[in-house]
């Protein structure tokens, strides 16, 4: 073996490849395997007995006297800057749906004192739900002028609903409009200012340092929060060697845990366990102190503590479908989507050809879940090329950030794309150019998660370029 930098990773990858190989062999050899697993799961769910849990209402302290006291000490400054992430009701994340903004009845003490922490949720016109966390003052979600934020003015700055997408933590709501999401943020600046990453001095190369604020460890917090769904009644977490069981809040299974910061260095999953998972956003709580989720009816997800990076049913021991209670979105069927794809050759000057691809969308797309994808093969290079067919309106012309750019599509709407012209590649070479259109549709909660995205064929085309 050559001189390796990370021999542990070399071994771990070979082990992963072996597991993949063995799993494939099992699937090939035992076609009854899947039903058997389902049967085991049903049996376990049906057989488990409901046990009453000693619920401690650790996080359920309504905004009260402590905040009133604090509000007398901290004055309001200008609101934090708003970012146009919800600019268009028919594109990108969509617009905030009326009546969906809720400040949850959570008020969690800060481990170093000062204003408590709270959480707000909202849903949009394009099937997205978002969580936002900040400090609480007079029933408002705010960020503080400290840790390099707001010129360290010591004042409270109300957080707008439209803020950095990274700080919104958005996911797809389920078929009943409910949010299921779990967020772990370590090294969060105590200011709660959006976009302010709190890192020790010298943590980043000079070229990137401007993007990060520096602050001592005492000004860092670890945040664990999310929505576990209406069936989740409580969760258990471990802190300083003690186990705590706390009730979830409201009808959404909401929770918020704030602990002192522990991250000295940005090292993500390559670092030690306590450093791992600087920021995660997943179907189940990961890289945090949460050890179990308790559901109505007696089911409990015991998170696999030794393997916290596992998600989905295997995150729980015994296995439990996660997110528990999530009703997946209905995915259009191939029969509903089948449509003729028209390809037309267009001459652009001497020897330069383009292909105009055109079809009528067989279904309406009204959420961020769906996006048509055009795929074709360049006859000159033999390479496969892909392009997202995002049409019409864009989410925002002023802010691209992480906002997906897809837009609503009406049933019957004519969609076109030109191959061989910017941005879809160089002029086409002579030969047969073939391609296809598929609808990529997410049916799970996570935006951009490949494992929860299915590709459904719409149609294909072949055209000869002279």
């Amino acid at each position: 073996m050559t001189d390796l930098g990370i021999p542990e990773l070399h071994r771990a990858l070979i082990d992963a490849a072996r597991r993949q190989h063995e799993a494939a062999a099992v699937r090939t050899s035992d076609p009854r395997d899947a039903p058997a697993r389902d049967s085991r799961r049903r049996s376990w769910l049906g057989g488990s007995r409901w046990r009453a849990l000693p619920v401690m209402m650790l996080v359920l302290v309504l905004v009260g006297a402590a905040v009133a006291l604090a509000s007398g000490l901290i004055s309001f400054g200008a609101p934090a800057a708003s970012v146009p992430v919800f600019a268009n009701p028919r594109a990108g994340l969509g617009r905030i749906a009326p009546g969906t903004v809720r400040l949850l009845p959570l008020s969690v003490p800060d481990p170093h004192g000062g204003l408590p922490w709270g959480m707000r949720v909202l849903s949009t016109t394009r099937g997205v739900g978002c969580l936002q966390v900040g400090r609480l003052l007079d029933g408002r979600l705010v960020a503080l002028g400290q840790d390099g934020a707001f010129g360290n003015d010591g004042r409270a700055h109300e957080l707008p609903l439209s803020t950095n997408v990274e700080r919104l933590n958005c996911s797809f709501v389920d078929a009943r409009g409910r949010i299921f999401d779990n967020v772990t943020i370590k090294s969060q600046a105590a200011s709660a200012a959006p976009g302010v990453h709190c890192e020790p001095p010298g943590a980043y190369a000079a070229s990137h340092r401007a993007a990060f604020s520096t602050c001592p460890l005492a000004d860092e917090r670890n945040l664990y929060y999310g929505m576990l769904g209406p069936d989740a009644t409580s969760l258990t977490y471990s802190l300083d060697g003690n186990s705590h069981t706390v009730a979830t809040v409201g009808g959404d299974g909401a929770y918020l845990i704030v602990t002192p910061g522990t991250t000295h260095r940005y090292s993500g999953a390559a670092g030690s366990h306590e450093r791992a998972g600087l920021y995660t956003h997943d179907e189940v709580p990961v890289y945090g102190p949460i050890t179990a989720i308790h559901y109505r009816g007696g089911a409990t997800c015991h998170l696999v503590t030794a393997e916290r990076w596992i998600y989905g049913p295997r995150a729980c021991d015994p296995a439990l479908p996660e997110p528990y209670g999530y009703v997946r979105a209905a995915v259009p069927t191939p029969a509903e989507l089948a449509a003729p794809i028209h390809a037309k050759l267009i001459r652009r000057g001497a020897g330069r050809w383009q292909v105009r691809v055109r079809f009528a969308s067989p279904v309406a797309i009204s959420s961020l879940r769906g996006e048509y994808q055009l795929q074709w093969r360049d006859p000159a290079t033999g390479h496969e090329a892909y392009a997202s067919m995002s049409f019409g309106e864009r989410a925002s012309s002023r802010y691209s950030g992480m906002i997906p750019q897809g837009a609503n599509i009406k049933a019957g709407q004519i969609l076109t794309a030109t191959i061989g012209a910017s941005p879809l590649g160089a002029p086409l070479a002579p030969g047969a150019t073939s391609g296809s259109v598929t609808l990529r549709y997410a049916d799970g909660p996570l935006i951009g998660a490949e494992e929860d995205t299915v590709s459904i064929p719409v149609g294909s085309f072949t055209i000869r370029v002279p």
Partner: protein
């Protein structure tokens, strides 16, 4: 039973063999570990982040090894395509993604300070001489060689980022590499 010797297999063959022989991916890893660590170390100047990103890229590569098609380009280009995507995503999100590792059940690594120093040494060793030499090139050639060789960008991407034609990019890369070769010969 003796293990098959994969060291003579090309990259595409290693990826194709991975489904049936996990050790083949180990050989693929050995070929590109230092290059990926160097790529990420140059971008971040952090051994721990470079190690983290390298782990995520290899996990993603392992996950989709069976889907790799050699007719679509080189395995090296494919691997560095994943790497560029991961790097861009990391700067945008302020964190290293770990989804591929979780899907593949690749455990988080506990790297000691000694291990991090080893990573840094390995990553920087490959980068140091090349970077010093690169800095001796004229600006236009340096940017072109840096983009093409160190960041694995294709000519079309480089042409867009450098606001010039693809043929001019090719010319700058070619001249830059020729100059580097000449200087290397002078120093050895």
């Amino acid at each position: 039973m003796a293990r098959p010797d994969h060291t003579q297999a090309d990259d595409a063959e290693l990826l194709a063999l991975t489904a049936g022989d996990p050790e083949a991916f180990g050989v693929f890893y050995e070929r590109y570990e230092a290059q990926l660590l160097g790529f990420f170390w140059r971008a971040t100047r952090r051994a721990d982040i470079a190690a983290d990103l390298t782990a995520e890229v290899f996990a993603a590569a392992l996950e989709s090894a069976a889907a790799f098609r050699p007719q679509s380009g080189s395995a090296r280009g494919w691997l560095f395509g994943i790497a560029r995507h991961q790097l861009a995503d990391t700067w945008r999100r302020g964190r290293v993604e770990d989804r591929a590792r979780r899907r593949m059940q690749v455990a988080p690594l506990t790297l000691t300070d000694e291990a991090l120093e080893r990573v840094e040494e390995l990553a920087s060793r490959a980068s140091r001489d090349a970077v010093q030499l690169l800095e001796s090139l004229p600006e236009d050639q340096r940017l072109a060689v840096d983009g093409r060789v160190l960041h694995e960008l294709d000519y079309a991407e480089l042409a867009v980022s450098l606001s010039c034609s693809q043929s001019l990019v090719r010319q700058r890369v070619s001249r830059g590499l020729r100059a580097l070769r000449a200087r290397l010969e002078e120093t050895t």
